[in-house]
């Protein structure tokens, strides 16, 4: 039994050691593991100032302008926003109010040239009629709160 206890301790200590090591590595690389930056981070200078990076946020309602394959829209994190220019095919889930991630370069203070647009999907799944019902009840609640 002594030998077995030794091995048990070895496994537990080993696992704890590896966990700490991995935790340290992940903490050190935290910045590089970020898949995208928000417009606020970009405007605060926390994103790369040049080169290709990814920007994530929500497509502002009514901001989508299409001209053939060229699309312009406003990407917002509800605090700050940036204007995105993109030429190409958009994913199915791209629509106003949707979370998207764009990859490209910053060309002006608040202008971004995207080479790729990815739609981010939320965790919600429901049938269309339920979604419509939910929207109606939310609108009714908002109205009730205002009056």
């Amino acid at each position: 039994m002594r030998k077995q206890n030794k091995r048990l301790v070895f496994v537990l200590v080993g696992l704890a050691g590896v966990s700490v090591a991995v935790w340290l590595v992940l903490t050190a690389f935290r910045h590089n593991l970020v898949f995208f930056y928000s417009p606020t981070q970009v405007l605060e200078g926390k994103a790369p100032s040049h080169g290709v990076f990814r920007l994530g946020g929500i497509v502002k309602k009514g901001s989508i302008k299409k001209d053939g394959l060229h699309t312009t829209f406003v990407l917002t994190d509800l605090r700050h926003s940036m204007v995105i220019h993109y030429t190409g095919i958009l994913p199915d889930l791209f629509r106003q109010g949707q979370g998207v991630v764009v990859q490209g370069r910053r060309v002006g203070t608040t202008t971004f040239m995207a080479s790729q647009v990815l739609a981010k999907h939320g965790a919600n799944y429901m049938p269309p009629d339920v979604a419509a019902e939910l929207k109606r009840s939310m609108a009714a609640k908002a109205k009730a709160a205002l009056s």
Binding site: V34, F35, L93, P127
Partner: protein, 245 residues
């Protein structure tokens, strides 16, 4: 401990698994057939994705099972390593290819869904990358098992790899919360209301239980096979073979 050793005798497990296999297989078939019927016909389309979301009935159970199988494999590997239980070594070894196929299925189905929905087959975000690492862990474990001839030494060496790899499991799970990822966070958690409508949730649960029983079925079949091979020189195996016409 003596009790474990008695019931974990490969011969006993061989008989037990033989009795359980048809039951597990029947349950798996029933759950898969009803789950697919519910998922593909009965469940309504999604308000945003239309019918494309239905791939989740395969993707999500496989992704869950890829992590669950890894935990099972690592626990068996650790038990085999610490207490020298031969059956635990066997169960860990035969779980690896099953877990690897769950992982690959989750990666491929996710990728096929990602193209129309996200607009890309693959991105190197934390969730996708950590799941890919899980696949390589399984493959590495299998390669290590295969590269050492002596069964006990193979089990001990690969057990270390399996145990170290456990670190990846919480990373996969929490990746969507710790970092900005393209992959969405979990729709189902133990602590909050499901974010999936009930008529879509039911097929998902049925399919998930189906995949669990599929795993158990395959575990029994594969473990029996492995036991026969390892005990091929034992008397009881010889008698078993001779008793077959």
């Amino acid at each position: 401990m003596k009790l474990v050793h008695k019931y974990a005798a490969p011969k006993r497990f061989y008989e037990l698994a033989g009795t359980l296999t048809p039951w597990f297989a029947t349950l798996t078939t029933l759950l898969f057939v009803s789950g697919l019927y519910l998922g593909l016909y009965w469940a309504p389309p999604d308000y945003q994705q239309g019918n494309a979301y239905r791939i989740m009935f395969i993707h999500v159970p496989n992704a869950w099972m890829s992590m669950m199988a890894y935990m099972i494999m690592a626990l068996f590997a650790a038990a085999g390593y610490i207490w020298n239980i031969r059956l635990a070594d066997i169960l860990a070894k035969v779980t690896a290819p099953l877990g690897a196929s769950f992982t690959l299925t989750a990666l491929v189905t996710g990728s096929l869904w990602g193209k129309p929905m996200w607009g890309t087959y693959w991105v190197w975000d934390a969730r996708l990358t950590s799941e890919l690492v899980l696949f390589f862990l399984y493959v590495g474990y299998m390669a290590l098992q295969a590269s050492i001839d002596d069964a006990r030494r193979a089990a001990h060496a690969s057990a270390i790899l399996a145990i170290v790899g456990v670190v990846n499991i919480p990373i996969i799970h929490y990746s969507v919360y710790w970092w900005h990822t393209l992959h969405q966070p979990a729709s189902l958690t133990l602590t909050s209301q499901p974010k999936i409508y009930i008529t879509m949730l039911i097929p998902l649960i049925v399919m998930s239980i189906g995949f669990m029983f599929f795993y158990l079925t395959m575990l029994c079949v594969r473990a029996r096979n492995e036991i026969l091979w390892r005990e091929r020189r034992a008397d009881w195996v010889r008698k078993l073979v001779e008793s077959r016409p």
